[in-house]
């Protein structure tokens, strides 16, 4: 006992209290962390549990019938697919070129900074506002002019549909692409650019031969992020082309290309919205089935994105 009492580093009363408090606080924070994770797990389990009876391959490939009370999800699924492709065709070139300009060409002056702030603000705009913007800009302002220019009359006229909805979703996703591309470009060491300039390479040669190949992985992750946003959001397509219900062919080529660019289309997020609260006596399973497929779609896309990022990061070394 003599040796124990001689311990010069024995904790005092104050230290013991501090240690106890430390342990308590750790558990409190762990609790909040669980508060975040547990509901998510609960929701997922609940949705997939209730959806299980309807989930099958046919559920994905059959068209909905009887206002979505029976049948599958093909029409909204293929609609979402084309919406994603359409919006990517617009947002990727515009966003990436804009980001390259801002990062590689523009001098760091007030103009570039203002554009940067504008992009950040655009990212904070609620998606329903983007929807209203799309309605005003693309459906009400652009389409009539477009129809007049092509001389389309009566039934030939393009209406709010895939084109206008894709443009709206593209505008909504523009800041995401610009930000992720700028980050990807910024991650390429400045010394590579210096090496190129000092060999007499122009800015464009530098970008094409060195900067782009080394920032592709970051750009791809941004694009994939945007895919899941385009697939999941309802608000931007609410007024700009998505429709409650549309009969499409059950088989043949028509089944794969059901919507023209000037025609209203069905989409997963919209479909879920409609069958959840607009149609009476909708079987519970159908609602949860639609939610489960939408969530699975987004989870798959996101994990693909993460896997791609990890793989590409592992490949580059400097």
């Amino acid at each position: 006992m003599e040796t124990a009492s001689k311990n010069p580093f024995a904790p005092g009363e104050f230290e013991r209290k501090k240690d106890q408090a430390l342990a308590h606080r750790k558990w409190v924070m762990f609790g909040f962390c669980m508060l975040l994770v547990l509901p998510l797990i609960a929701i997922l389990v609940d949705i997939f549990w209730k959806a299980a009876p309807v989930l099958s391959f046919d559920y994905l490939t059959e068209n909905p019938t009887n206002k979505g009370k029976e049948g599958g999800l093909w029409a909204p699924l293929i609609g979402t697919f084309y919406l994603v492709i359409g919006s990517l065709l617009v947002v990727t070139p515009v966003g990436i070129l804009a980001a390259i300009y801002m990062n590689e060409y523009a001098k760091d002056g007030w103009l570039n900074r203002t554009i940067g702030i504008a992009v950040t603000s655009l990212a904070g705009v609620p998606s329903i506002v983007h929807g209203l913007f799309g309605l005003g800009a693309f459906v009400l302002a652009m389409l009539p002019g477009f129809n007049a220019m092509l001389g389309l009359e009566g039934d030939e006229k393009w209406e709010a549909g895939l084109l206008t909805a894709s443009l709206t979703v593209a505008v909504m996703n523009l800041p995401v692409i610009i930000t992720s591309t700028r980050e990807a470009l910024g991650a390429v060491p400045q010394s590579f650019r210096e090496a190129c300039w000092n060999l007499g390479a122009t800015r464009f040669q530098t970008i094409r031969t060195i900067v782009l190949p080394n920032s592709l992985s970051g750009m791809l992750t941004g694009i994939i992020l945007v895919v899941s946003r385009a697939a999941g959001e309802t608000a931007p397509i609410l007024f700009t082309g998505a429709t409650f219900f549309k009969f499409i062919a059950d088989e043949g080529v028509e089944k794969w290309f059901p919507y023209g660019p000037g025609e209203p289309f069905m989409a997963m997020s919209m479909h879920l919205n409609i069958i959840s609260n607009q149609i009476s006596q909708m079987p519970e399973n159908m609602k949860f089935g639609c939610a489960a497929v939408l969530i699975a779609l987004i989870l798959i896309i996101n994990s693909f994105s993460i896997a791609l990022r990890v793989w590409l990061r592992g490949r580059k070394r400097w």
Binding site: S191, E194, A195, C196, W197, L199, G200, I210, K316, R317
Partner: protein
């Protein structure tokens, strides 16, 4: 001495925004010699070096006045092509910065970006062998030409950074503290390489290390606070400095 000058500057002034980094520098750098630029941090030696291939202009708010003549042409005149200038005046950096592509592609990178048509494989192969032989890398790397350049040892990377300038047939090679990231062996190897390239090329080297300037240069220029102070043969500058400020610096009174 009847040697010709590779680089002559007259009253060269440079501003970064409102800060004047060079206050009218006039120097003559002799062809085929190794000239070292020394002086304490912030004296403008790197700035002066970067004026010689006008790469300063890529770093933003820079204004230059005065003239810099290389091959009897003022490179600040408007009819000078920056691409042509940088072919003839190459730069080697403090940290080896090979591009993240293969050794082979690093060496031919300059040829590719300056050639309007596709180059033949044999031309490229010859250029790679010649450049790597001249820099003493051929024996080590001839079987690893496809290796990613960023995976080489630092010394090899730095030599590669010199090798990739050679296919462009430069007149002047600028080196900005080329050994400060290297160990003793690497430093020695680069210095030996500099001596073997001298004569064929004019070499200007910025160094923080006075011992290196003494070991590895024919001529030495001392700068202080953006001003030229003294230029003489290296051994004269270190043994009999004319300016008292130079004497104090090489004695290590400040720096």
């Amino acid at each position: 001495m009847t040697q010709t000058n590779a680089i002559t500057t007259r009253d060269l002034k440079l501003w970064y925004g409102n800060f004047q980094a060079l206050l009218g520098v006039s120097v003559d750098i002799k062809q085929g010699q190794i000239t070292s630029l020394i002086g304490p941090s912030g004296c403008g030696k790197t700035t002066l070096l970067r004026c010689f291939n006008r790469v300063n202009e890529r770093y933003g708010n820079v204004r230059t006045e005065g003239e810099v003549k290389i091959l009897d042409k003022n490179i600040y005149e408007p009819d000078v092509s920056l691409a042509e200038l940088r072919k003839r005046v190459g730069m080697v950096f403090q940290r080896p910065n090979p591009l993240p592509i293969s050794v082979y592609e690093n060496v031919v990178f300059g040829m590719r970006i300056h050639s309007p048509q596709k180059l033949t494989t044999s031309d490229l192969d010859d250029a790679v062998e010649k450049a790597l032989t001249e820099t003493g890398l051929w024996a080590d790397l001839k079987d690893r030409l496809d290796a990613k350049a960023t995976t080489l040892q630092l010394e090899q990377q730095q030599k590669l950074c010199i090798a990739r300038l050679l296919p462009l047939k430069p007149e002047v090679i600028l080196m900005d503290e080329p050994c400060s990231a290297l160990d003793v062996e690497g430093t020695k190897a680069i210095e030996e390489l500099m001596w073997s390239l001298a004569g064929k090329f004019t070499i200007v080297i910025v160094t923080h290390n006075m011992a290196q300037a003494r070991r590895a240069s024919h001529e030495c220029i001392f700068m202080l606070m953006g001003e030229f102070v003294e230029h003489s043969r290296t051994e004269d500058l270190f043994l009999n400095p004319r300016n008292p400020k130079t004497a104090e610096y090489i004695e290590g009174r400040y720096g």
